[in-house]
Symmetry: none
Subunit: 238 residues, 4 copies
């Protein structure tokens, strides 16, 4: 199988090797590993996936090319690790008691990532993933899935509170919400702003919520009150 997990598992740092004994030989240089990942991130903020060369990463990190290849089988795996290690503990969901609030908050955080220099890495991973199945798989497993897991809980809480219909296909809803963001991010046919995110939520969640009460944040349009009892869903979802 492809090396999509962090390389940490092949040879561990002391103590990181759960039950077993240390592998023989000189242990990997955590310093080198981090320098490589840091350089990869840095370089990816300047160029795209295709333009990134292992040669340049190694040189920038002050490391031999072989050291890179020892731990990552190819550019894709390296880029995924670089991405994952720079986005690990972000983009969590809050629990405000409102699906609308929780979702739009997280979507705005995601937006901020995409618009930051790290957004280049996301587009690099998706781009690279179009010809490297392992790369897009890693993106799914290491980035998308953990966030979806959290999102499911957020949405289920909404269901339990009656904000969402119980038979709603959660992945469908998430695809609709985030797909709009990904599309604009990748195709760049229009601005990717907080208003845009707000409007997505408004369109989708007010349509999908029993009472479409949550106005898009920071829109100038009159908001008309966040009343709990109105705003019915289309028949199919109720």
């Amino acid at each position: 199988m492809r090396q999509t997990q962090s390389s940490v598992q092949k040879q561990s740092q002391p103590g990181n090797n759960a039950g077993g004994k240390r592998l023989p030989g000189r242990p990997r240089s955590e310093q080198a590993r981090q320098a490589i990942l840091r350089s990869t991130s840095r370089l990816l903020q300047r160029t795209g996936f295709a333009e990134l060369s292992i040669e340049a990463v190694a040189a920038h990190a002050g490391v031999g090319k072989a050291t890179v290849y020892r731990w990552w089988p190819d550019k894709g795996a390296l880029v995924v690790d670089a991405f994952a290690s720079s986005a690990e503990d972000e983009l969590h969901f809050a629990d405000s008691g409102s699906v609308y609030k929780d979702m739009s908050l997280q979507m705005n955080q995601f937006l901020a990532v995409l618009r930051s220099r790290r957004g280049r890495i996301v587009s690099a991973v998706i781009a690279g993933g179009q010809s490297d199945p392992g790369l897009i798989q890693a993106f799914r497993e290491r980035f998308l899935r953990p966030r979806r897991q959290e999102a499911y809980q957020t949405l289920r809480r909404g269901m339990e509170r009656g904000e969402l219909p119980r038979n709603l296909d959660l992945d469908l809803l998430l695809d609709v919400l985030y797909g709009a963001i990904y599309m604009r991010f990748l195709i760049r046919h229009a601005q990717l702003t907080e208003d845009y995110v707000a409007e997505i939520c408004h369109l989708v969640l007010n349509g999908a919520t029993k009472n479409g009460s949550h106005p898009p944040r920071s829109t100038k349009r009159t908001v008309g009150g966040g009343n709990g009892r109105n705003g019915k869903l289309g028949a199919a979802l109720t």
Copy 2:
């Protein structure tokens, strides 16, 4: 500026040269041009954008490398041309009198393209476009925009018929509808089926429509009647 228009403009086929006279010298070989585009498409169905080499295109087309470079400045322009010339007259919108029907029909056609061998070219263009601004621009201008223009008309007809609120942001709606497709197409975290398309339409359009009467096609879920009185939109859109 970048060569995103077809190379036809540098030296035209006989008769294509509006007012002027024929340029001196041997005219370009239309045969070569088509062989190159055909080979590009063919090879892109086997590999991704990054893996496609001009060298291989030329060899496969039985053409000198210089002939490729004479007419296309780089791989991106070539790929866009190959894509455009293979998708020119497709994906039009019908006018059935129902936004729901028109949209879901076209989305299903689009889906069919993505799932066909030509879908590889779409993903190649989007992937390549992440590091080549001209490439994604060409995708927008030569593929996305024409389709959006048609979509606007379809949606405006819907507005006129009262199926859609008049202040609806059309690009937002289209991003939500198509973004979900693009996302699943690019990230491949779930199946890209006709049911999926139907459910997108149902969720978004029934939510976004004043009376969400159109059930998703061929879904097993009990649809519960397209009752006209419920399915309100959020205040912002009504």
Copy 3:
């Protein structure tokens, strides 16, 4: 078979291609070829065969590595060509009417080559040839054999003049004469001087000549008269 002939044969300069037509494609750059050979020679005078890198040759010649590999299959073939092209028209035999004089003259010329900067190339070829059969074969065919052919004639003239016995094994004689030079050149256990050459000739040829009259040149040792009547060969050779 191995590429030991000059690369000239794969694609010829215009006119060099006896009967046939020109090969298609851009013709080889004679300039590049010579730059490469020149750089090879130059670098070999600074280092040995093992230390010579194609990388360095290409860099020094201002040429791409691939250009080197296009015309020479490996370092050995390149070094042989460099050696041959720098030693082509040298080391001929005179015809003075005396085997002794002709041989010792040529041997001294050879000595001069070995002691010059080009001697490094000879030792490089022999060294490299110990693990590359094609390399030592090329040395034999392109350097040793032509000289031996000339030497045979010189020795046969000596036979006809009665200076040498008619049943003498010419290769044996040449191995004995030159072997002593090669040995001292390669093992470096003693000085390789003109006196040494003179003494070899004196020992071998005066022993092998019917009348060993030629004294070693410039030796301090009392020579005791080059009397024509003594110095007979052993019975086997007379």
Copy 4:
């Protein structure tokens, strides 16, 4: 200075350490040392000097690379040691009362070594020595010199017996005799047989002997009688 002596001197085996005390720490593993030398010999019989890698030696010997480097400074020193340890007690000279017999016997033994699998090591050492001065020096000091010392005695006995002229340059004579062998061994332009050795001796020693009476062994050529009165040496040597 270069490590050309056996590594034994750095840290001795127990008991080998003349007056002093045992060095502290774990003593070197004689087993490892021998495994390394054995592997070196074995691998050198398959490839040449340039192709031999310390990496491969260590792996083949089941030894860490560092252990090799601890005891030998470089490949040359290792190869010399491997060669010396596999040829230590061979190639001695007999004392038959005849220079001709003693020399040709030893030369044939030498020939046998060259033609055996160990001959590869000799050529490797000479080849390597062309770019590593220490290597060829070690070859001289540890292989050539001891044999020459013995050869001097053999030849001096011949002088005392009157078989050789007293003013003969011994190194010159040995170079002529052995040079012919080395040359054919290294350049491989002709077979290296016992007949060849016999003919060298016949040509050189019968020429260099006062009466060239010893016919080459097993030669087909009619020898025409070892007549005692002719076969004089050139004046310089008599």
